[in-house]
C-alpha cells in the first residue's frame, strides 16, 4: 500500500495518480461547469468583484477599485494557469533540478547554473528593489500576489494541476519577486541573442577584413523601421563614435577546441506590427495589427482578459503572472509590440590576479571582486554549489573559456541586470487616452527594448523604439572587449533622440524586427535583425487603400517567401540540368514555376527549404555541425562559431563574391559556388526519397509543445508560413497572438485569436480549443464593453468574488 503512494524512480505513484477519487480523473473538468465555484469568499477584497466568463472562457473582470481588480486578476489567472506561472518562474530562477533531479548528463543542473550565472535571479532582485521603492507599484504587485495566493489556499492537494501530480511537488506562495522573475525571463527571451564571442573567434582566426565583408552591419536593401527624417536625425549629445577601443586581439593562437557556450534563445522569435491612418482605410479611421512570434507552447504564452473599474476599461493579452494588460487596447488607444533585437548584452575578458579570484585587473591596478554563493538543490541528489564572481561590469559567466585568443574569463554586462520598470509602462498604457499619454507611459521603459506601435481614436498613428541603449563607440559590442579598460555603461541615448514616428506622410508605421534606422542615425546600433518580413509588409502597406479588417487578416496570413523569390532564381541558374534524371528534372520544373508561396499544400516550398538548407550547410561547413538533419534554422553551430545569416549568404552568391569558405573541407576538390549548388541539389533529391510528406504544412508539421515537453499534452498542426515570412509560423515558433484593431467611427473594435486555450488544464476543453480557430484565421471579436449588463446573459457564466 505504501509503495503505491510514494514516487519511485521518477515514476508517479500509481495509486495516487490512478485512483478515481483524488487521482487524475478528478482533474478532468466537467464540461458543463466552470472550473471555479460561482461564489467565492476571498479574504482581502474591499468590495465584491464580478467576473463574466464568455464561451471561450475569457474573463471580463469588473471591480470597483484597482486593488480589487489586480487581486481578482491574480486569482483568475492562477485558476487558469497556476502550474505554468510557477514553473516558468522556477525555471527562470534556476531551480529546475529541485523538481526534476540532475537530468541526463546533468542537463538540469547545468541549465540552472546557466540561469543564475547569466543573472536572471540577480536581475529579478534589481527589479524587485525598484518595485519596492515605489509604494504604488508595490501595492499593485502585492494585490496581484494576494489574489494568486487566495486561489492557491482554496486548493486541496488533489486539486493541484496535473503537472504537480505527475512531477510530484507543490506550489509556493506567489509574491512580487516571482512577478519580477517572470518579467526578467521575458527580457532574457527577447534580448539573449548576440554573437560577441563567435564574432571575435572569426575575426581573430580569419581577419577583421574578411569578417567585415561577410558580416555586414547594414545593407542598402534594408528598409529600416524609421526612414531618415527630411531634416535628418537630431542628436542632443556630442558624439565621438570613432573606434578607439582597440579590442580586437591578434591571431596568435591555434586553439580549435572551444568550450561550450550557453544556449541562446532562438533567433526565431520576432514579431510584426503595423498601423495605417484614415487615409488608407475605408472607414477614414486608423487600423492597427500586431502578432508577436514566440515559442508555440501549451499552456499558451498569453492569456486573454478584459479588466474594468470605474476608471479603467482595457482588453488584451497578458503574461500569466504579471498584472495589467501587455498587448491590447482601451476605449481611446490601442498598442502592440515587436522586439527591437538590438544588442544590449556585451562580454568582457577579465584577468584575475590569482586563483583566489578575489582581485581582477583594472587599468594599472587590481580591483576587488564580489562573490555571490549560490546553492542548487537537486532532487534525489546532493546540493550543488556555485560561486559567481561579480565585477564592475557584471557577473563572470564563463571561466577559463577557450577562445581563438587563449583561455579567458568572461563577464557579462546586460541591460536586463539594471532593473526596468516595464510594469509601470503597461500600467500607464492601459490607461492612456492619447499620443502624449503613450509617450509618457514609454518613458519608464528600459528593457527589453520594443517597437511600440500606437493608434488612437483621435486618428493618430505612431511608432517608437523604446528602450535604454548605451551610447556605443563604432563597432562596440560586436566583439568581446577588454574588461580591464572598459568602464560600465554610464551614458545612454537621450529620450528625445530615440526614433519616434507620428502620422508620417506615407500614412503607415510598421516594424518586423528589422534595423532601426540607416547609418545616418547618429548613434552606433547593431544587433540581430530580420531582412525579409518587413519588406513584404511595407510593400503591401504602401499599396493598401480603402483597407478593412479583411485586408489586415490577409496580411497576417501573407505567405510570400521573399527570400526564395530573391535567391532561388540565382540558385537554379547554376544547376546543370542535363545531368538530372527525370525525377530531378521534375523537381527542377516545380521549383522553376513556383510562385514563392509557402502555403500548406505547396511541395515546392518543401523542396526550396531542403535545397537552401543543404546549400547553406555545404557552404558554411566550417561552422555548422553537419550531423543535424533538417537544420530548422537556427542551424546547429559548432560551438563558438557562427556563419553569416541567410540574407548575407545569398547576397554573396548574387554578387558572385569569392571567399575561402566556398570550398568544402570534406572533399579533395576545391569547390566553386556552382559545384556546391549542384551538390546541394542532388542531396535534396536524395533527401526527398526519404520523405513521406512532401506538402509544406505536413513536412513542417508545426509543433505546439507542452512546457514540460510531455508529448501527450502537445499537438502538431498542418499550417503554412515559415520563419522570415509574414505568417511566421515555423516549426516551433509562430504568431502567438494575432490582433487587429479597427478604430471605425472613433470607437475601437478588436479582433484576435491565439494558438492555445485559456485553460492550462489538459483535462479541460479550453486547453486547446483555439488552436484550429487560430490556424484557420477565425478571429474573435474582443468584446470590451464597460457596461456589465452586456455580459449578464446566457452566453456568459458569472463568478462573484466576495469579501468575507
Amino acid at each position: 500500500m505504501i509503495a503505491l503512494n510514494i514516487r519511485l524512480a521518477g515514476k508517479p505513484a500509481f495509486g495516487k495518480l490512478l485512483n478515481p477519487f483524488s487521482g487524475f480523473y478528478h482533474l478532468g473538468e466537467n464540461t458543463n461547469n466552470l472550473h471555479i465555484p460561482e461564489d467565492i469568499i476571498a479574504e482581502g477584497l474591499a468590495e465584491e468583484v464580478t467576473v463574466y466568463f464568455d464561451e471561450r472562457r475569457i474573463p471580463h473582470i469588473f471591480a470597483q477599485n484597482e486593488k480589487d481588480l489586480y487581486f481578482a486578476q491574480g486569482y483568475i489567472v492562477a485558476s487558469l494557469r497556476l502550474w505554468q506561472m510557477e514553473f516558468q518562474v522556477l525555471a527562470a530562477e534556476g531551480r529546475i533540478s529541485e523538481l526534476l533531479g540532475a537530468g541526463d548528463n546533468n542537463q538540469f543542473i547545468n541549465f540552472d547554473i546557466q540561469q543564475r550565472r547569466i543573472g536572471l535571479k540577480y536581475g529579478a532582485e534589481q527589479k524587485l528593489a525598484l518595485i519596492e521603492s515605489d509604494p504604488f507599484s508595490k501595492e499593485i504587485m502585492e494585490s496581484f500576489a494576494n489574489g494568486v495566493n487566495a486561489y492557491m489556499a482554496s486548493l486541496k492537494n488533489k486539486d493541484l494541476p496535473i503537472e504537480y501530480q505527475l512531477i510530484g511537488y507543490k506550489p509556493e506562495p506567489w509574491n512580487a519577486y516571482k512577478t519580477a522573475l517572470l518579467l526578467m525571463n521575458m527580457s532574457n527571451v527577447l534580448t539573449s541573442t548576440e554573437y560577441d564571442i563567435e564574432h571575435s573567434n572569426f575575426a581573430i582566426k580569419y581577419g577583421k577584413e574578411l569578417f567585415d565583408s561577410l558580416f555586414r552591419n547594414y545593407d542598402d536593401v534594408i528598409d529600416p523601421i524609421f526612414p531618415t527624417p527630411a531634416d535628418g536625425w537630431q542628436s542632443t549629445l556630442a558624439i565621438d563614435s570613432s573606434f578607439k577601443l582597440g579590442t580586437l586581439p591578434r591571431n596568435d593562437s591555434n586553439i580549435e577546441d572551444l568550450g561550450a557556450l550557453y544556449t541562446k534563445n532562438d533567433v526565431q522569435i520576432g514579431s510584426n506590427n503595423w498601423a495605417i491612418d484614415g487615409e488608407k482605410t475605408s472607414s477614414g479611421y486608423p487600423m492597427l495589427a500586431n502578432d508577436p512570434h514566440l515559442k508555440l507552447s501549451f499552456p499558451s504564452v498569453w492569456i486573454e482578459m478584459h479588466l474594468n473599474t470605474p476608471d479603467l476599461n482595457t482588453y488584451g493579452v497578458v503574461f500569466p503572472g504579471a498584472p495589467g494588460i501587455i498587448i491590447g487596447f482601451n476605449d481611446y488607444i490601442g498598442w502592440g509590440v515587436t522586439n527591437a533585437g538590438r544588442d544590449v548584452k556585451d562580454w568582457y575578458s577579465i584577468e584575475f590576479k590569482d586563483d583566489g579570484k578575489d582581485y581582477y585587473k583594472w587599468k594599472d591596478d587590481w580591483k576587488a571582486t564580489t562573490k555571490i554563493y549560490e546553492a542548487f538543490k537537486v532532487k534525489g541528489g546532493e546540493t550543488v554549489y556555485d560561486t559567481i564572481i561579480h565585477t564592475h561590469l557584471g557577473p563572470v559567466v564563463y571561466e577559463n573559456f577557450p577562445t581563438q585568443d587563449g583561455q579567458k574569463n568572461f563577464a557579462l554586462q546586460w541591460m536586463a541586470h539594471r532593473g526596468s520598470k516595464e510594469y509601470q509602462t503597461f500600467y500607464e498604457l492601459n490607461r492612456a487616452k492619447n499620443y502624449d499619454d503613450y509617450i509618457a507611459a514609454l518613458s519608464h521603459y528600459s528593457c527589453p527594448a520594443q517597437n511600440f506601435i500606437f493608434a488612437s481614436v483621435d486618428g493618430d498613428i505612431a511608432i517608437r523604439q523604446q528602450g535604454e541603449f548605451p551610447v556605443l563607440e563604432s563597432e562596440e559590442g560586436i566583439f568581446f572587449l577588454d574588461g580591464s579598460k572598459k568602464e560600465a555603461w554610464s551614458e545612454f541615448i537621450p529620450f528625445e533622440d530615440i526614433p519616434t514616428m507620428k502620422n508620417p506622410q506615407r500614412h503607415f508605421v510598421s516594424s518586423a524586427n528589422q534595423h532601426v534606422a540607416d547609418t545616418s542615425y547618429p548613434y552606433f546600433t547593431h544587433g540581430v535583425f530580420e531582412y525579409y518580413r518587413n519588406r513584404v509588409i511595407n510593400e503591401e502597406l504602401s499599396q493598401m487603400y480603402d483597407a478593412d479588417i479583411d485586408d489586415f487578416k490577409a496580411l497576417h496570413f501573407n505567405e510570400f517567401n521573399l527570400m526564395a523569390a530573391e535567391a532561388l532564381p540565382i540558385m537554379l541558374s547554376y544547376l546543370e540540368i542535363e545531368t538530372l534524371d527525370n525525377h530531378g528534372k521534375e523537381i527542377f520544373e516545380t521549383l522553376s514555376s513556383w510562385d514563392y508561396t509557402n502555403n500548406s499544400s505547396s511541395k515546392a516550398a518543401t523542396y526550396f527549404q531542403l535545397f537552401h538548407e543543404n546549400y547553406y550547410t555545404l557552404l558554411w561547413d566550417e561552422f555548422v555541425e553537419p550531423e543535424v538533419p533538417g537544420g530548422w534554422d537556427p542551424f546547429q553551430w559548432k560551438d563558438g562559431w557562427k556563419a553569416p545569416n541567410e540574407y548575407q549568404t545569398f547576397r554573396l552568391l548574387a554578387d558572385s563574391i569569392d571567399h575561402r569558405f566556398i570550398d568544402n573541407e570534406a572533399t579533395e576538390k576545391i569547390e566553386t559556388s556552382k559545384d556546391l549548388l549542384n551538390l546541394a541539389f542532388h542531396q535534396t533529391l536524395e533527401d526527398l526519397m526519404h520523405l513521406d510528406e512532401l506538402a509544406w504544412g505536413k513536412y513542417k508539421n508545426t509543433l505546439i509543445e507542452h512546457l514540460a515537453m510531455i508529448p501527450a499534452f502537445s499537438t502538431n498542426i498542418d499550417v503554412g508560413g515559415n520563419y522570415k515570412i509574414v505568417n511566421a509560423t515555423g516549426k516551433y515558433h509562430g504568431p502567438s497572438w494575432r490582433m487587429i484593431l479597427d478604430f471605425d467611427g472613433g470607437k475601437i473594435k478588436g479582433y484576435g485569436v491565439y494558438p492555445g486555450g485559456q485553460s492550462g488544464n489538459p483535462g479541460s476543453k479550453f486547453y486547446d480549443n483555439l488552436v484550429n480557430e487560430w490556424a484557420n484565421g477565425n478571429y474573435h471579436e474582443l468584446i470590451n464593453s464597460s457596461d456589465a449588463s452586456v455580459y449578464q446573459n446566457i452566453q456568459y457564466q458569472t463568478v462573484r468574488l466576495k469579501k468575507p
Binding site: 500500500m1 503505491l4 503512494n5 500509481f14 495509486g15 495516487k16 490512478l18 485512483n19 478515481p20 477519487f21 483524488s22 487521482g23 487524475f24 480523473y25 478528478h26 482533474l27 478532468g28 473538468e29 466537467n30 464540461t31 458543463n32 496535473i162 505527475l166 510531455i710 508529448p711 501527450a712 499534452f713 489538459p762 483535462g763 479541460s764 476543453k765 486547453y767
Partner: protein, 124 residues
Amino acid sequence: MKAIFAFILIVLFGSLASIFLPWWVISIVCFLVGMAFLDSGWQAILIGFFSVLLIWSVAAFYQSYFNDFILLDRMGKLLEVPSPYLVIVITSILGGLIGMLSTLSGYYLQTINEKRKPKNQYYD
C-alpha cells in the same frame, strides 16, 4: 448470504469513504469487513477484488463521461496504452487488487485472533 452482505457493505461504505476521506481509506473498509464478516480466504479474495473493482470502474467512468473523455484520452497517450479505455480497465484492476489484498489481510488477522482465543482463555 454473509458474503453478499459483506460485498454490499464494502461498496456502500467504501464509496462514501472514498468520496469524503482520503482515497486509501477504502483499504481500511475492506480490511474491517474482511476481519469481521468473512469465512474463507477465497471469499476475501473474490469479494475484496470485485467490490473495489466495481467502485473504481464506476467512479472512473462517471468522471470521464462528464469530462467528454478529454483527460482520459490524454492520459491514455501519456501512459502509452493503445486505447484510452484501457486506462479505466487498469484503474479498475488496480482498485480490485488493493481491495483484494486489504480484505485478505483483514481476514487473516481474524483467523490469527481466533487461533489465539483458546490460549487467552487458558490464562484467564
